[in-house]
């Protein structure tokens, strides 16, 4: 499914992307390929939607305000409500999960007041039971993880 260079890029650069004027060239040198190969491979991975982006993962708690929200949605309305939720720019990572609380999403805003306003709008518009579960402490944060390749 993925060629060797694609795998190497994902194995090596989920973190630690070179912060230099020529990051692709630095990566190319480390992997023993050309700068153009690195760049075109990243472009291809993004076009094919294997990756969302190459760049920063912000600590939302420092970058603004964010929280994890769950809604208990009647199954037959899940798709409709998910579409509604997706319309908010403040929403990312919107997943259906197996539970009575079956729609889970992250809301991120520039400050607490904006965040609360999005939550109020969603709660009011859906009228469904909602859990607001802000992070209290991070024991282990997203640093990418080792992928187990298989043919």
């Amino acid at each position: 499914m993925m060629n060797q260079l694609e795998r190497s890029l994902l194995d090596r650069y989920q973190r630690g992307l070179p912060i230099s004027a020529t990051p692709w060239a630095d990566m190319a040198q480390e992997l023993g390929v050309s700068e153009q190969e690195v760049l075109s491979t990243l472009q291809k991975l993004r076009e094919q939607k294997f990756i969302t982006r190459v760049g920063p993962v912000f600590d939302h708690h420092r970058a603004g305000s964010s929280t994890l929200v769950a809604l208990a949605v009647p199954p037959e309305r899940l798709e409709e409500i998910a579409d509604f939720i997706n319309q908010f720019d403040a929403v990312n990572h919107n997943y259906a999960r197996e539970h009575e609380f079956n729609l889970w999403f992250v809301v991120t805003a520039s400050d607490q007041a904006q965040l609360q306003s999005v939550l109020d709008t969603i709660e009011c518009a859906t009228g469904m039971p909602m859990l607001n579960l802000p992070m209290e402490h991070a024991y282990h944060i997203d640093l990418g993880f080792k992928l187990a390749w298989q043919e």
């Binding site: 939607k49 990572h93 197996e98 992250v106 282990h140 298989q150």
Partner: protein, 162 residues
């Protein structure tokens, strides 16, 4: 740091969807915010050192590359034990995230969350069993919430473009 507050905000908004995949991405960004390439690099390095940026790298779509089983495992850990339990949990290799969040009684008794990604459900369930053994969690009530569908996966948008 020589970027103005306005330039910093514009830069943050510009990179939340990733670096431009141009030959000199930081020069491209510098042009957008009318700063020098060096200042942009310095600012991003500063955010990274400072912890505002957790990591700089490739953000993988796990579903797309075959990691279709993703379980959020939630635990109801007595408050006085939660730090202790979390420390054991976070070092378990397949745990990719571990957060404490508030309970919302009576609907939601769980205060510790971890995430396990895998290629299939069976493997993930095995990992959870091993985690229970490893961290001695047999008596801790838990729920396993596999993801069924992914409706949206983007970077957080705390900053507006423009």
């Amino acid at each position: 740091m020589t970027l103005t507050v306005q330039q910093q905000e514009t830069l943050r908004a510009a990179i939340q969807d990733g670096l431009p995949l141009t030959a000199r991405p930081y020069a491209t960004l510098a042009q957008q915010i009318q700063a020098s390439e060096n200042d942009v690099i310095g600012q991003i390095q500063h955010w990274l050192d400072d912890g505002l940026i957790k990591r700089m790298g490739i953000v993988v779509r796990h579903h797309a590359i075959g990691y279709s089983a993703n379980a959020m495992v939630v635990w109801n850990v007595p408050d006085e034990l939660v730090d202790f339990v979390a420390e054991k949990m976070r070092v378990f290799p397949s745990v990719t995230l571990c957060y404490r969040r508030p309970r919302r009684l009576p609907d939601w008794p769980y205060n510790l969350f971890c995430m396990i990604h895998g290629r299939d459900r069976h493997w993930v369930l095995q990992q959870i069993e091993q985690l229970v053994q490893h961290a001695e969690l047999q008596s801790i009530p838990r729920a396993v919430l596999f993801s069924q569908r992914q409706f949206k996966q983007t970077g957080g948008r705390y900053a507006r473009v423009g």
